[in-house]
Subunit: 207 residues, 4 copies
C-alpha cells in the first residue's frame, strides 16, 4: 500500500512531521478529554504549524482516530510480546503485557485507554483482545453470555490497573496478574449464571 521506502527527502520529512504530530496528539488526548484539546495544542506540542493537523489528518477528529489506532497497535504488540506455550501462562503473559504497557504510559493509560476507552474508537481494540482471550479459554466469543462476561471482566481489570497506577503500584505485578485471573474466573462463573447452558468448567481449568 504505502511505498515501502520514502522516495524523496521531502516525503521523508513529511512522514517525520506526521509522526511528530501523531505523538503530540497521543500525548494531548491522553491528558484531557477530546473537547479540551485544541488543534493548536497538538501542533504546538509537535512544534509545527497548526494547519498541518488538517493537512495530515484531515482535521481534529482524524488526528484523534489516528492516535487511537496508534495506541491500539502499540498495545497489541505489547500483549503479544511473549507467546508461551501453555494457555494459563499465555493468558498471564497477555495480562502482564497489558499492565506493563500502560505502566509505561500512565497518562495514556488513565485517559485514552481506561476512560476514553468507553468511546467508539476503541471498540475494535477491545473486541479483538477479548476474542483472543475467548480463544485461549476455548469459549465462543459470540455467545452473548461469554461476550458480556468478558467485557465486564475487561472493565474491572482496567479499573484495577488504573487504580494501581494512580496509587503508585501498591501491589506486586504478579499479584495483580493473579487478581486479574480471579476476577476473570468470577466473570466466567457469572456467565454461567446468565446462561446456565454454558459450561465454563473447562475454561476455568485453563486459568
Amino acid at each position: 500500500m504505502t511505498p515501502e521506502k520514502p522516495l524523496t527527502a521531502r516525503q521523508a520529512a513529511a512522514e517525520q512531521t506526521r509522526r511528530k504530530l501523531l505523538e503530540a496528539a497521543l500525548a494531548e488526548f491522553s491528558r484531557r478529554p477530546y473537547a479540551e484539546v485544541t488543534v493548536s495544542d497538538i501542533a504546538r506540542a509537535a512544534g509545527v504549524a497548526h494547519g498541518l493537523v488538517s493537512h495530515h489528518f484531515q482535521g481534529k477528529q482524524g488526528a484523534y482516530v489516528a492516535a487511537v489506532a496508534e495506541v491500539y497497535e502499540q498495545l497489541r504488540e505489547a500483549e503479544e510480546a511473549e507467546q508461551p506455550a501453555a494457555v494459563p501462562e499465555r493468558i498471564r503473559a497477555r495480562f502482564r503485557g497489558f499492565v506493563t504497557f500502560l505502566a509505561a504510559h500512565p497518562d495514556l493509560a488513565l485517559n485514552l485507554v481506561l476512560i476514553g476507552g468507553r468511546d467508539e474508537a476503541f471498540a475494535g481494540l477491545r473486541s479483538r483482545n477479548l476474542r483472543v482471550l475467548a480463544g485461549l479459554l476455548g469459549l465462543d466469543p459470540d455467545r452473548p453470555a461469554v461476550a458480556a462476561a468478558l467485557r465486564s471482566f475487561a472493565d474491572g481489570a482496567e479499573r484495577l490497573t488504573a487504580d494501581w497506577l494512580r496509587d503508585d503500584r501498591p501491589f506486586e505485578l504478579p499479584a495483580l496478574v493473579e487478581a486479574f485471573c480471579a476476577l476473570l474466573a468470577g466473570a466466567l462463573r457469572g456467565a454461567h449464571e446468565l446462561d446456565p447452558a454454558l459450561d465454563v468448567t473447562k475454561a476455568l481449568a485453563r486459568l
Copy 2:
C-alpha cells in the same frame, strides 16, 4: 429564617422552573458528553429562556453538577428501596435496585452513570456505595486490596448493566443479579491475591 417549603405561589413556580431545568439538564447530559451540550439546548428542552440556566445554576457547569447530584440521590434511593434482613438478600436487593433504576433511565444509565461515571462528580456516589457494600460483607473499605477489588467489581458490574441495556436485556434480572454476585466473588478472591493476609472467606460466605 427561611421556611423549609416555599411559602408563596411564586416561589413554588420558580422551584418548578428549576426542576424543569434540572430535568432537562439531566436529559441532555445523559444523551451526549458535556462539551456537546449547550446551555441553549438545556433551556430549550425546558422550554424557558437560556438566561435561566445561569440564574438557577450559575452557569453550565453548575447545571451539570446539579444534574449529577440529582442522579446520585435518585440512585441512592433506588438502591435502598428494599431493606431485607439477611445480608445475601440485602446485597441482591441493592443490585436489583441499581439495575432497575438504570433500566428505567437508559440514556442516563449509558452516559451519565456508566460513562460519565468516571468523572470526578461521581466520586462521592461510587465511594459511598462501595462502603455500604463493604459493610455488608464485613470488610474494611479502607484496606487497599478491598477498595481495589470493590472498584474493579463496580466497573465490571456497570459494564454488565450497560451491555444488558444496550442489547435489550438479553438475560433475566435474577440471572443478572447472580452474575453480579459471581463477579463480586471473583473480585474478592482477587483481593486475597493482592493481599494474602486478607481473609475473604467470611465475606464470600455472606454472598
Copy 3:
C-alpha cells in the same frame, strides 16, 4: 411640586427606599465607572430588590443622573456654607467648602466628581459654580476667554484636590486654598492673553 409631607406611611416607606437606593447608587458610581456598576450592585448595596431601581429611577441611567444631581446639591451646599462679606475671603471660603466636602467623600471625589466630572451630567454643576466665581470676580462668564480660563482653572484645581486626597493630604488646607488662588490668577492672566481686550486687573485685585 412634591407634597411637602408624605401623606401615608406607605409613601414614607417608599421615600425611604428611594433614599437608600440613591445613596447606594452614589456609593457604587463613586467606586467605578458607569459601565462596571450593575443595577443589582446598587440594589444589593441598598438591601432591596433590583427591580426597584427601575421602579424609582426609570432604569440605570436615571439612577446615575439622580446620583449626580444629589452630589451637585450636596456640593453646592458645602460651598455656600460660609458666606463672608469680603470677596477674597468669600472665594477662599468656597474653595475650602469644595475641598472639605470632597475630603469627606473621597471615593466620590476621585471618581464621580473629578473623573466622571468630565461627563455631561456634571455640566450643570460646573457651569453654575463657575458663574458664581465669575460673579465674585466681576467678570462676564459668557465671554469666551473668561469661560475658558475658568474651566481650565477648575480642572487644574480638581486635579490638585484629587492628588491631595490620593497622597493623603500632604499640604495644609490653607496652603492648598492659596495654591488654588495662584492657579486662578494664572488662568486669568491667560484669559488676557486669549483676549487682550479683556481687563483682568480688577479681578486679580479681588483675589
Copy 4:
C-alpha cells in the same frame, strides 16, 4: 533571530492588517468610551473578521492598550518635532506640538487623551511629559509641590485645549500657547504656596 523587518510578503500583509486594526481601534475608542466600543465595531471599521482582534491583540483590552500606546508615541513625536535652543521657546514649541497634534485628531483628542487621559493607561505619557517640562524649568519633578503644580497645570491646559477644539478654535494658536504659559506660571506660584521653601523665581524666569 527574528529579523527586524518582516521578510516575506505575508508577514508584511499581516503587519498591515494589524495596523488597520490598530487604527480602527484608535478611531473607535476615540469616539466613545471603552465599554461602548465592541470588538466587532473595530473589526468592521478595519474591514476584517472580528476574530482578528484577538489574533493580533489578545482581546479587546489588548487592542485598547495598543491604541493608547500608539497615541502616546505619536503625541511624543509631535511634541518633540521642534527643538529650539532657548528654553522659553522650547516650552512653547512643545505646547504648540501638543495642541497641533490634537487639533489634527480631534476625536482622539476629546476622548482618548483629554477624557480617557484620566485612566491608568496614560499615566506613563503624562508623567513623562511633565518630567520633561520640569527639566526645562530647572525643577525637581519628584518634589511633591512641583509634581502637584505640574499636574494641575496639565489638566488645566488640556481643558483649555479641549474647549478650544470643541468651540472651533476661537483663539489664535500663539495666544493659546501664551495662555498655557500664564496658567503654568500660576501653577508654579501655587507650588510656592504649597511649599514655601521652594523657589520658583528662576523657573518663572525661564517662561
